[in-house]
Chain length 337, copies 2
């Protein structure tokens, strides 16, 4: 199975690292041998129809360079769109940075790949939050899959879990901590660290998005709500429909005051009648009340009551496992392995 | 699709109640109209190849009688095995009480139905804990499904979640609260209620198994460990392989003492190298540390870290939703709806 990988930051590199280390296991356990034939980063592409040398690609990135510097297979300045146009592949994996204003360049990459009848796997929240219904329709028209398990909850299969519990029952409401960075910051604030310092620490540790306002102003959470509302609850909504308030104005004393009363301040996303993101006090014994970079999502069901899932909602390796899961699911329903 | 329902206690009745109330929705949303053609309780059967009147069956049970008293369709003293032998159906649903010594009568029901090429759905832990590998093989030989989503976690899809996160990753260990009754008792003990009184309260509320020793001596938890070890982790184990210690000897002061140090005493099941059930102190901030009848299970993954799911792990209605989910999954891959 031939893959194009567009976007070669933390998630893209983690994915190739996992493919490298799991190579033998993937063949033995699933009869699956993926061949990455193109990788595109912000400065160009590397292409080999026989399958790229991933070790070499990773080494070039670790040296801080573009994959395009490779002499034999590099193409300086080649764009993702050009790679999709020129390279034959079964699946395109889109992991460029999230842009919530235009969805670009991800939106164009996904659209072009689907039109070329490639399956698409993405963890890019921008295009999904802006155009999920349209993209799903385009996938159906072209008889290919559009999978995005890693876009919500990273490795934690939030979307699949929700689909499973919906079968024969009905999700009436969702609330959750959907952003690990803000949860890390709020946890540190409970330990007495001021907001600014906690944010710096999150950035140093690599938790925060490139533009931290996506995290702390609640936009990342809002994107995930939109994806869940569309995909799980058949609500046709976009980012504009979400009422969003971030954690910029939370003071140390707000956090301390809540703690004294047995509560924690958390940035929660809600799906009820409306979609809302806002800092909320929750009781310490609520299953949602998790610490650090953990995400936690509670689904309220008509029959089975409340069900909660908890796990690391961020991280390159974690997100890459979701891509691999999507990939194996496509492979298992496909003839080309 | 024609169904035989064997066992008509809390779970069986809840299931027919859901089928009744969801009739229209099942047709509209899934094109699925199940027809229950036989119900068997401990005193006999009621059979109608055209589909039973479920309202009437429920009313008879509410009056404390056997379904077999029905004049037109009742068969006094007909056994489950005789019903399987004599009634044509696509699926047999087995929800008789759990027997961990012999697995009977469930084991014989499941075996007979599979041999007659019926799909089987069960929530009966006895036969599964004693003979899961054999039963799965029998199902495969006869080209039918054996589904048991409700046997672990009731409505909470523990087994399906575990399968999903295993894809491309690997579960290295599992630990969890798998029995709601003991968790309810231990929670009440934290509130100062002695063990005996808390157990009585659990029985009054209908949480405890018919034989409460299954709960409090850890046997129910052990059964669930065996099912998970076999199904999720491909470990061929049986009940005899589990080291089991229940909560009978936990005193109020043990619970109080742990609380003072920021811990809660929980009855945990562990799957590592060995299968172990034992009362364990866990920190209050551990996602596993849930209260009341909730279940919570943490899966430790090679790549994605720890993932936890939490929900009501008991209850007739909750368990019945798992049966409906299994049923819809069979229906969706079958031609007869």
């Amino acid at each position: 199975m031939k893959l194009i990988l567009i976007g070669y930051g933390t998630v893209g590199q983690s994915f190739t690292r996992i493919v490298l280390t799991k190579q033998k296991e993937l063949v033995e356990k699933y009869g699956f041998s993926p061949k990455i034939v193109a990788i595109v980063d912000s400065k160009g592409a590397i292409i080999n129809p026989e399958g790229l040398n991933l070790k070499k690609a990773l080494k070039i990135k670790e040296e801080g360079k573009s994959v395009a510097v490779d002499r034999a297979y590099g193409h300086l300045n080649m764009s993702g769109l050009e790679a999709i146009e020129n390279v034959e592949a079964d699946i395109m994996i889109e992991v460029t940075p999230t842009n919530v204003k235009t969805g670009e360049p991800g939106l164009s990459h996904i659209t072009a790949a689907l039109k070329k009848k490639m399956h698409v796997i993405t963890t890019n929240k921008g295009p999904l939050a802006l155009a999920l219904p349209t993209l799903l329709e385009l996938a159906t028209q072209n008889n290919v899959y559009l999978k995005f398990s890693g876009a919500v909850g990273a490795g934690l299969p939030v979307l699949d879990f929700a689909k499973k519990i919906s079968l024969g029952d009905r999700i009436v409401a969702i609330r959750g901590i959907l952003n690990g960075t803000t949860n890390f910051i709020l946890t540190r604030m409970e330990e007495g660290i001021p907001f600014k310092n906690a944010l710096e620490e999150a950035q140093k540790r690599g938790y925060a998005e490139a533009d931290p306002s996506l995290d702390i102003d609640g936009i990342d959470t809002a994107c995930k709500l939109v994806i869940m509302a569309n995909w799980i609850m058949d609500k046709e909504t976009t980012l504009r429909d979400v009422r969003v308030e971030g954690i910029r104005n939370i003071a140390l004393e707000d956090v301390r005051d809540a703690m004294k009363r047995g509560f924690s301040v958390k940035l929660l996303g809600f799906i009820n009648e409306d979609l809302v993101v806002k800092p909320t006090e929750i009781p310490k014994q609520d299953p949602l009340c998790v610490k650090g970079i953990l995400n936690a999502i509670t689904f309220k069901l008509e029959l089975a009551g409340e069900e909660t899932i908890i796990g690391r909602g961020a991280g390159g390796k974690e997100t890459a496992t979701a891509i691999l899961r999507d990939l194996l699911e496509i492979a298992q329903t496909s003839v080309i392995m």
